[in-house]
Subunit: 432 residues, 2 copies
Amino acid sequence: MRLVVIGGVAAGMSAASRARRADRSLEITVLEKGEWISYGACGLPYFLEGRVRNLQELVTYTPEYFRRERQIDVRTAAEVTRIAHARREVTLASGDSLRYDRLVVATGTRAIRDLPGAGQPHVFTIHDPGDAGRLRAFLVERRPRRAVVVGAGPLGLEAADVLRRKGLRVSVIHAGEQVLGRDDPALTAEVHRQLERFHVECRPSTPVTAIEPTRVGGVPCDLVVLALGVRPNVELAAEAGVRLGRSGAIALDHHMETNLAGLYAAGDCAEVTHLVTGRNVYLPLGTTANKMGRVAGANAAGRRERFPGVVGTSILSLFELGIAWTGLSEVQARRDGFSAVAVTVEARSRPRYFRGKSSSVTLVAERGSGRLLGGAVVGEQDTAGRINVVASAITARMALDDFQHLDLAYAPPFATVWDPLLIAAQQLVKLV
Amino acid sequence: MRLVVIGGVAAGMSAASRARRADRSLEITVLEKGEWISYGACGLPYFLEGRVRNLQELVTYTPEYFRRERQIDVRTAAEVTRIAHARREVTLASGDSLRYDRLVVATGTRAIRDLPGAGQPHVFTIHDPGDAGRLRAFLVERRPRRAVVVGAGPLGLEAADVLRRKGLRVSVIHAGEQVLGRDDPALTAEVHRQLERFHVECRPSTPVTAIEPTRVGGVPCDLVVLALGVRPNVELAAEAGVRLGRSGAIALDHHMETNLAGLYAAGDCAEVTHLVTGRNVYLPLGTTANKMGRVAGANAAGRRERFPGVVGTSILSLFELGIAWTGLSEVQARRDGFSAVAVTVEARSRPRYFRGKSSSVTLVAERGSGRLLGGAVVGEQDTAGRINVVASAITARMALDDFQHLDLAYAPPFATVWDPLLIAAQQLVKLV
């Protein structure tokens, strides 16, 4: 039995590793078209910053490690050009072909960069280690002074944060009204305040149609970072007959199997179930890719595991301010047919004598049932813990009535006796 | 209609405040036998440390504030000596009596100090602001050098932490085998390691039978802190015919009503339902007291609210190490009739390049169902967030199968792509 995995980053290497643990006798080959495998793409902004000194620090394990310790044959610069699933065979760009019994497609994404002028040498994406390496070299060698970041998703804001802290003047230009792909005016307002505080200009509702040589959207610059999001790499699978979902990413069942038996997919090339709406959505994220990869790998090796889905949790640090959200925003919830109510509260997250600062907590619930649908937290380092409590409660389909009484840990170094989460729940429970 | 509340700290003031919001016309009187009301007792160790400069900083609101802003008549030095519920009347030590329609008993606790020699001037408890004020004065004026803390619950360890950081030699002596009242050898081992690291001697399994003038349990000392736990103040209620639970604290229904209609109780004088076992237990904690007080106050004012119970979440900081637990330990779970399995994992809670240190996570689950029963986390500041995720999942009766796939927030400044919680769940799921 041979398992072939196409793609050697988060989902692909998780799938291969899990398959190995599930079946010691399986022959496992990973085909990665690039030169880097098993890296943490979410660390790339911190490589630009210099906190991560070299790109190898972001690599969890090398091909040699996988070969030696896990008996996984990892081939880099191995681009698959065709999947012939009827024959259980993949063809490589080299002309070689490889037979398989089970296949996991983990082809990931590519950065969107189809803008006129995007090919100029001062225009960068931060999609893979190669990109990041080139951008860091540009920063060191060319010492740009004014950067424009196009796009205000998490990566765009992280890029703005890093470039600003390296001393550049930075403008963020984006087409949408709201930042972070989240339809949440309160969250957007918090982001704007923080950008202003650190002198980063932000221009919403400004579609960029071209990158001019010395300016973007009227803003002069000598560095452009494109953070317009990603597209799933689905062509290979689609040509093999794999069904795509409405989002354009690969459609999967909860076992990470495609419409073709024995052909699995995982990670950023595929859709995932949103546990609040029950719909399949495209939410490419490193953590999800790893989880999907594990389940795909287990099942490709003969197990029967299930990945239920996600609730859409995200977090980023913007000049040390934690900004996080999960589930649905109030606007999204209404759009999805829920009768939604929401509150936002500001409350101290630790006592004053532990230098506690104010946190902002938004909760969204369904009128009538009180079911928690979403939330957002803006605050200090403990923002992650708070959004995770909301994410867990949403996953469990908890109602506000239980949420408001959650037995959260309290001691002055960590929290206030009334956690901001509970204060928000107490206020929202009056409205449902 | 008049509501009388006996006790003016966490539960009592929460009850009075909530009753006021529920009914603007209610006459509300709070009778507090001491001189302090509405204070955060959990902050007392930080007053000893000096981080809290004066005791007033721990007071949320003054009697004047309650009178003026909430029309609540708060009387201090007002000790109730008798409840005559048939006549709806309380008698005060002064001889005065007061009629009521509804009564909330929030009489709290007293520190256990019935040891021979406990009355000596160098022997202290840290139970209320008066105690803490006297101990701080003793530290300043007498400059003790060697302290013995009797008891290894959260307060005992917090006292040891504070005294050690103030430069004293400190020994902790306690009767039990395990610290923190938690039957968890892994947690106990972590505490012992941390105490050793900071040169605090800890003697388990050492019952103290008397406080000698210059030594305790053979350890010479010039300061003794008794942290033997608390006893609920139930005598007043019991004499009035209020039923006590098996723990000796006041028995309540989920509306915080006692066996006597119209007589409510809340806070540390009462039992609470443990949501994992469904049993009523005695777990006096500030957060729970506040929640119970709110529900008691609402219901005493004519609402019909419910406090479901707790899962036994606690946290403390021991020389900046977060130590937290929730639900049942493996040993407790077995004792309570569960077929329990557990794992402890050590994993980095943030990437190395964000100076992430190792966290220890223990999870306990029921064999077969995979239902999560308990957990413990030892680590940095983010310990609170992690234990809260476990607490929320336990409250929701989540099984490991869902817990292992929780959509937790990930970005390098906050977490690792595989959170220690998820790693622990993945390991434990194999054992259930």
